[in-house]
Symmetry: C2
Subunit: 125 residues, 2 copies
DNA sequence: CAGCATCCACTATGATACTG
DNA sequence: CAGTATCATAGTGGATGCTG
């Protein structure tokens, strides 16, 4: 992406976008950050994140598992036990995602100020 | 984001997520990458991206402008001329976004292989 | 040229109830 | 505990036609 245009030959832009979309969805980054400190059970994650619904946590985990970022280990006991953890690929992803998150966190004030200024200009003009 | 949990005190996670969501949306990164090489007019961008609709390009640019990543300069002529360019903040964003894009591009084969394996396991199991 | 307005299909998210 | 199934709703994205 540092050399604009160089990946269009192979349709790389659209393919890469499927990964960026997962990063941008509502819960994936939350889950990845939680798992960065160790594996978690389903309801552990749900409690920690708090505001996520069962359905969305389930869907998010399935998406991350499908992409190869998260592993799912089932212990067939009663009650059942399922542990989620980052794969090697998931840990690698943590690098650039963390950098983007850090940047966003460092600049969130500037972004929110820009939004406020824009909205004010709209309301007035 | 490298120190999990440290930004929850100020609700940073939710606020940061609004930035990540913009990165994850369908057209923002495309537009940012195009503008990284210089300013563009509306229809220039539309032609270059190709598959984007007028409505979505318009909405994407307005969103990026609102967040302070893109500037919009109007030349009141006939026909009208509008030039879009990255702001300083937009150029800074290019760093982490480019890194994530590079990572995604470098690992897209692994991700697609994981997807294929997952889908095959589903179809069979 | 650079858009906005309208209508429509599809998706994402959530609330609730149920299951092995 | 760890989900799936169902229903309801809000938002996204696209097609088309119109405007200054």
């Amino acid at each position: 992406m540092t050399i604009p245009g160089h990946q269009h030959e192979t349709g790389g832009c659209q393919r890469v976008n499927t990964v960026l979309s997962r990063i941008g969805d509502k819960w994936s980054v939350q889950v990845i950050m939680r798992l960065s400190t160790g594996s978690r059970r389903f309801n552990e994650l749900k409690r920690e994140i708090g505001s996520v619904s069962q359905k969305m946590l389930s869907a998010t985990l399935r998406g991350l598992e499908r992409d190869g970022f998260v592993s799912r280990r089932v212990t067939p006991s009663v009650p059942p036990r399922v542990d989620y953890a980052l794969t090697d690929l998931g840990h690698e992803l943590l690098g650039p995602v963390g950098a983007l998150g850090d940047w966003a966190f460092a600049n969130i004030d500037a972004v929110e100020a820009a939004r406020a200024a824009f909205d004010a200009a709209q309301a007035q003009g």
